[in-house]
C-alpha cells in the first residue's frame, strides 16, 4: 500500500527531527554565552559538563515527556468525547491538578510524591465533574455542553487556587503556588523526573498500546458495543492513563496550555484520523514543540519566561491559523 509507506516515511522524518532537536537543545542556553554553547566545551569545562548533565538534560527530557503527555492526553480526550475542541486544560484536568498540588503545598507538605498523588486525584476529579455536569445539562449539543461544564469546573478550581494563594505564606508557599499557574520547568532535577516517570510512562504506555482501539471507542456507544468493546470500561482505562500522565507532568511543570489542543489537530492534518498513527504522531510532534518552547523559555531572556506563556502564544496563533484556513475541515 503506497499510503502506508508514505506514513512510515513521515514517521522516520518526525523521529529524526525529534532526536536532532533533543541533541541540539542540550547546547542551547545562557551559559557560557547566550543561546549557544559549543559542544567542545563538554570536554574542556567541568562546570559546563555538570550543567548539561545535572540541569539541562533532565529539563529537556521532562519537556519531551510533557509534550508527549499533554498531546497524547489531548488526542485521547478529543476522540473519547468525540469533540475536536477539548484538551486537558478545558476539562478541569489541568486546573484540578494545580489545585491538588497547591492543596498539598499548603496543608500536607510539598514532598513530590504527595504532591503528585494529590494532583492526579484532583485532576481525575476535575474530569469526572466536567463529564457528569455535561451529562446533566439540558441544552446545547454534547460538544458545547462539555466545553461549558469544563469551563465552569476549571473556574471553580482556579477560584480555589486563588483562595489558597491568598492564604499561602507569601515567602515560602506563594512563589511555589504561583509557579503552577504559569507553568515552567525551571528547577527540574533528575530526582523529580524520577518521581513522575512511573505515572507518565504507565499512562503513555496504556494510550500507546490501545491506540487502534481508541478509534472504536470514538464511535457511538451502540456501534462500539456491537464491535465487541466494553465502551465504559475501556474508555475509563484510557482516560485514567491519559489523565495520570497529564497530572504527573502538571505536578512538576504547572499548567501548560494549548499543546494538548493544537498538537492532535496538526497530527490529524498530517497523518489522518486513524489513532493508530495520530497517537504516536501527537506524542512526537508534542515533544518537538514543547522542547522548542522550553528552549525559548530558558534562553531567550536573561530571566526565565514561564513556559505556559510561550505555549499559549504559539498555540493560540496556530489555532487561529487552523480555524481560519479554508483547507482545514473541522466538524463540530
Amino acid at each position: 500500500m503506497p499510503e502506508r509507506s508514505r506514513l512510515t516515511r513521515l514517521f522516520w522524518l518526525l523521529g529524526l527531527t525529534l532526536l536532532g532537536i533533543l541533541v541540539v537543545s542540550i547546547f542551547i542556553g545562557r551559559y557560557p554565552t547566550p543561546y549557544w554553547m559549543s559542544p567542545s566545551l563538554l570536554r574542556e569545562d567541568e562546570l559546563a559538563r555538570r550543567l548539561v548533565l545535572a540541569l539541562r538534560l533532565p529539563r529537556v527530557l521532562t519537556a519531551l515527556l510533557m509534550g508527549m503527555s499533554l498531546s497524547a492526553a489531548g488526542a485521547v480526550l478529543q476522540m473519547i468525547f468525540r469533540n475536536p475542541l477539548v484538551e486537558p486544560g478545558f476539562l478541569g484536568v489541568s486546573q484540578g491538578a494545580a489545585f491538588g498540588a497547591a492543596l498539598s503545598i499548603l496543608w500536607v507538605g510539598s514532598s513530590p510524591i504527595v504532591m503528585e498523588v494529590s494532583a492526579i486525584l484532583f485532576a481525575l476529579m476535575g474530569l469526572l465533574l466536567s463529564y457528569s455536569l455535561a451529562r446533566r445539562m439540558r441544552h446545547g449539543s454534547w460538544a458545547l455542553r462539555l466545553i461549558l461544564s469544563g469551563i465552569a469546573v476549571s473556574a471553580l478550581f482556579s477560584a480555589g487556587n486563588g483562595i489558597m494563594k491568598y492564604l499561602a505564606d507569601p515567602l515560602s508557599q506563594l512563589p511555589e503556588i504561583t509557579f503552577w499557574m504559569l507553568g515552567g520547568l525551571w528547577g527540574m532535577t533528575w530526582n523529580k523526573l524520577l518521581f513522575i516517570s512511573p505515572f507518565v510512562f504507565v499512562g503513555l504506555l496504556i494510550v500507546y498500546l490501545m491506540r487502534w482501539r481508541l478509534n472504536l471507542l470514538s464511535l457511538s456507544d451502540e456501534t462500539a458495543f456491537s464491535l465487541g468493546t466494553a465502551p465504559a470500561r475501556e474508555r475509563t482505562l484510557l482516560l485514567v492513563g491519559a489523565v495520570s500522565a497529564t497530572a504527573a507532568i502538571t505536578a512538576v511543570g504547572g499548567i501548560v496550555g494549548w499543546i494538548g489542543l493544537i498538537v492532535p489537530h496538526i497530527a490529524r492534518r498530517i497523518f489522518g484520523a486513524n489513532a493508530q498513527y495520530t497517537i504516536p504522531a501527537s506524542m512526537m510532534i508534542g515533544g518537538v514543540l514543547t522542547v522548542i518552547c522550553d528552549n525559548l523559555a530558558r534562553s531567550l531572556l536573561p530571566g526565565e519566561i514561564p513556559l505556559g506563556i510561550i505555549t499559549s502564544l504559539i498555540g493560540a496563533v496556530a489555532f487561529l491559523a487552523l480555524m481560519i484556513s479554508p483547507k482545514i475541515k473541522m466538524r463540530i
Binding site: 464511535l219 457511538s220 451502540e222 458495543f225 456491537s226 464491535l227 490529524r268
Partner: protein
C-alpha cells in the same frame, strides 16, 4: 447451516423503567437462518429497543433469547461481536476517517485489545469493498460521502465482522429509490448466503419488498409477528399506524396505500 431457527425469542419482556408499562411484553418469535425479518412500526414504537436487546446491549427482564441454539447471555463479548453486526441509524463520525480506515474497524472482533489490523484484515476489507462495488471510495473521507454511499460504508463496516446475524436500524429511511433498491438487493444476497437479517423500518413497502418475516410494533408493544403473508393485512397495519390502510396487489406485489382522502 442448520435449519433450526438461528434467532429464537421466547416470552421476552423488557422495560426501561420498572414503574412504566413494559416496552416489550411477552414476545415470542422464531427467525430461521438466512431469512429477512422486518420490524415495522411508526416512529417511536420501540423498534430500536428490540434491536438493542438482540444485540445484547439491553438485558430483558424476562424470557430468553437463543442465538444459534445458545442463550445470548452465555456468549462472551468477543463471540457476540463475531456473530452479530449492527448498522446503526445514524453514525456520527466526528473525525475524517478514510473509508478504508473506517471499515477496518469492523475487524475488531478478530483482534486483541492491543492488536493492530494486519495484512489479512486489509485483504478482507478490500474483498468486501469489491463485493459491494465500493473500491473507488477506499481513500475518500467518510464525511465527504453522499447519503447512499455512506449507508453502504456503514454496512461494509458491519460486514467486515463477518457476522451471521446482521441488524440494521432504518437502513433505507433517508435514501432515494435507487439507493434503497441497492441496499435491499444486498440484504437479499446476504440472506441467500445464510446471514439472518433483521431491520427496522417505518415504511411498510420497504418491508414488503424484502422481508419474509414481519414484527409489527406500536407504542412499545408487539402487535403481531410471523411470516409476512399472514401479517401483512389491512386491519393489522391499520392498528399499527392508527390510520386506515389498504393492501393492494399491483403486478403481484403488495402495495400499501393510505385509505383516506385529504380534504
Amino acid at each position: 447451516m442448520n435449519t433450526s431457527g438461528i434467532i429464537s425469542l421466547s416470552n421476552l419482556t423488557f422495560s426501561y423503567d420498572a414503574d412504566l408499562q413494559n416496552a416489550i411484553s411477552d414476545l415470542s418469535l422464531e427467525i430461521p437462518a438466512g431469512s429477512i425479518a422486518a420490524i415495522l412500526g411508526p416512529n417511536g414504537a420501540g423498534k430500536s429497543t428490540l434491536l438493542h436487546i438482540i444485540l445484547g446491549m439491553l438485558a430483558p427482564q424476562g424470557g430468553q433469547i437463543l442465538l444459534d441454539g445458545k442463550n445470548l447471555s452465555t456468549y462472551s463479548r468477543r463471540e457476540m461481536s463475531r456473530l452479530v453486526g449492527l448498522v446503526p441509524q445514524i453514525e456520527h463520525i466526528p473525525f475524517e476517517f478514510s473509508v478504508m480506515e473506517y471499515i477496518l474497524l469492523g475487524r475488531a472482533p478478530y483482534l486483541g485489545i492491543l492488536q493492530m489490523p494486519a495484512e489479512e484484515d486489509y485483504q478482507t476489507v478490500s474483498e468486501i469493498l469489491r463485493t459491494l462495488k465500493l473500491t473507488h471510495l477506499a481513500h475518500r473521507a467518510v464525511l465527504d460521502l453522499s447519503g447512499g454511499e455512506r449507508q453502504m460504508v456503514l454496512m461494509a463496516r458491519a460486514l467486515a465482522q463477518q457476522p451471521r446475524i446482521l441488524l440494521l436500524d432504518e437502513p433505507t429511511s433517508h435514501l432515494d429509490l435507487s439507493n434503497k433498491g441497492h441496499i435491499l438487493r444486498i440484504l437479499r444476497d446476504l440472506a441467500e448466503q445464510g446471514v439472518t437479517v433483521i431491520f427496522t423500518t417505518h415504511d411498510p413497502y420497504t418491508a414488503v419488498l424484502s422481508a419474509q418475516y414481519l414484527i409489527l410494533m406500536r407504542d412499545g408493544n408487539i402487535l403481531d409477528s410471523g411470516p409476512i403473508e399472514q401479517i401483512l393485512k389491512a386491519d393489522k397495519l391499520t392498528s399499527t399506524y392508527g390510520v386506515p390502510v389498504r393492501v393492494v396487489k399491483v403486478n403481484g406485489h403488495s402495495v400499501i396505500l393510505l385509505d383516506q382522502t385529504l380534504t
